[in-house]
């Protein structure tokens, strides 16, 4: 069980002291099956890390471990030089997690959903929210309850959070599912922009991503 990291050239912006996130010798087993072991990698500001791997190779598990949502692991996760256990609060304030379940309440409208989910991380006003919704192609649906939206539109509501988030590190679990081709291209652009502006992205997807400063980590090559 080993991993291949094919890094593209490092971003040219100099890093302010040490990497943003460093993972050292991480291993995890579930139900007696080793998902990954001795996993070490570094995520710097300005980079996008794609976690690849076949179904069941442990991508979702890895992301949830990184965010502190799972704790069945061995190894160290270091955030700006300190273990995430010690920096929990500051770490979480600078992190955006987007999971298989997208965090959109079906009864509320997109606007009301964002008002809460974005508002938990930063102060917002309605104009900002409306702009973000328009940017993900939901103009005209701001006030429809989310249960009337299609699968892809619900996904977009949640993706609007990306445009509002003050977090440096984005951790995205298959954000491209159910999106149409335009939306996929647009989301790739958003990720690239975030990296260019000094943020960092960890993303799982079975898509082939092409963007500058992308590196890839493939799980479960045995």
């Amino acid at each position: 069980m080993n991993q291949i990291t094919e890094s593209s050239p490092a971003p040219d912006a100099p890093l302010p002291g040490g990497p943003l996130l460093e993972v050292r010798d991480l291993s995890c087993e579930r139900d007696e099956r080793v998902l990954f072991a001795g996993l070490s990698f570094v995520v710097d500001c300005g980079t996008v890390l794609q976690i690849a791997g076949s179904n069941g190779s442990g991508k979702t598990t890895l992301l949830r471990i990184l965010c502190g949502l799972n704790d069945g692991y061995d190894g160290e996760i270091i955030w700006r030089g300190e273990s995430t256990d010690d920096t929990a609060e500051s770490f979480v304030g600078d992190l955006l997690y987007f999971g298989h379940r997208v965090g959109v309440n079906k009864i509320l409208t997109p606007l009301e959903n964002l008002r809460w989910s974005a508002g938990m991380q930063r102060t917002v006003n309605d104009q900002l929210l409306l702009d973000a919704l328009a940017a993900v192609g939901l103009r005209g649906f701001e006030e429809s309850p989310c249960y009337t939206l299609s699968a892809g539109q619900q996904q977009r509501v949640s993706l609007a959070r990306l445009r509002l988030s003050p977090a440096t590190l984005w951790v995205l679990d298959e954000p491209f599912t159910t999106l149409d081709v335009d939306a996929v291209a647009q989301l790739e652009q958003t990720l690239a922009d975030h990296a260019r502006q000094g943020g960092a992205v960890i993303v799982t997807t079975h898509h082939k991503l092409t963007m500058p400063s992308l590196s890839r980590l493939t799980l479960g090559m045995s």
Binding site: D71, G93, L95, R101, G103, N105, G119, R122, T123
Partner: protein, 231 residues
């Protein structure tokens, strides 16, 4: 983009969460009407099942009302975290940069306002229908006012523990009901005391103590339980 925004204060995160939960409840309407309706219907089953006679009813009235309150509080708990768990909002809650204690408290308060409070308001009417002596209406409402938040807070722990399970209705009950017994006992004793003209102050103090205890401990425990359930 990374610097211009301001991290909201915990107080404003508390208010945001409270408002959101109230908004969802009001949009659903049922969340408000149903605990109340359930309470009324369950109570009206008792005369049918036991006896329509006034004296007999008066004897069991306090107990019946408290049991109905307990059951309706417990049933209404189901909606407290389940929706958020299923749609992923719970992860947003857990990964927000605010102490989970306050966010859980906000959710509990919203839930009590919507499901517990209407029951308190309606209780004198039901007490009348069950022929409870009218001197004890005041005590009844007071005990409910102190007791129902306690029940909500206790229930919240059980819901948080069971939020990932497929069918929760019953396991929830099995966990919550035993913990609610002290509230039930002090509540009925207080009402029975006042119905027979005795002072009920002691029981009220005990109920208050239970409320204070659960107000400080339950949200913490619920928060921990939520973390466990989500992982």
């Amino acid at each position: 983009m990374l610097s211009a925004s301001v991290k909201p204060s915990t107080r404003s995160a508390f208010m945001l969460t409270l408002k959101r939960d109230l908004l969802i409840a009001f949009k659903r309407k049922n969340d408000i009407v149903n605990p109340f309706m359930f309470f009324v219907i369950v109570i009206s089953l008792f005369p049918l099942a036991i006896s329509p006679e006034g004296e007999k009813l008066a004897e069991i009235a306090a107990g019946v009302i408290w049991i109905a309150v307990l059951l309706s509080a417990m049933l209404s708990m189901d909606s407290l975290y389940r929706g958020d768990f299923e749609d992923g909002s719970l992860e947003i809650l857990l990964l927000s940069p605010h102490p989970l204690f306050f966010l859980v408290l906000a959710k509990n308060i919203a839930h009590w306002l919507v499901s517990g409070f209407p029951v308190v308001i309606a209780s004198p009417l039901l007490a009348y229908m069950l022929k409870l002596p009218s001197e004890s209406y005041g005590t009844l409402m007071l005990t409910l006012l102190i007791g129902t938040p306690t029940l909500s807070l206790i229930g919240s722990i059980a819901v948080a523990l069971t939020v990932g399970l497929g069918s929760r209705g019953l396991i929830l009950a099995v966990i919550t009901l035993p913990f609610s017994v002290p509230v039930l006992i002090f509540g009925t004793l207080a009402v029975q005391a006042s119905a027979s003209g005795l002072p009920a102050g002691g029981y009220l103090t005990l109920l208050l103590a239970l409320l204070a205890g659960s107000l400080s401990l339950a949200p913490l425990t619920s928060a921990a339980a939520l973390r466990i359930s989500v992982s």
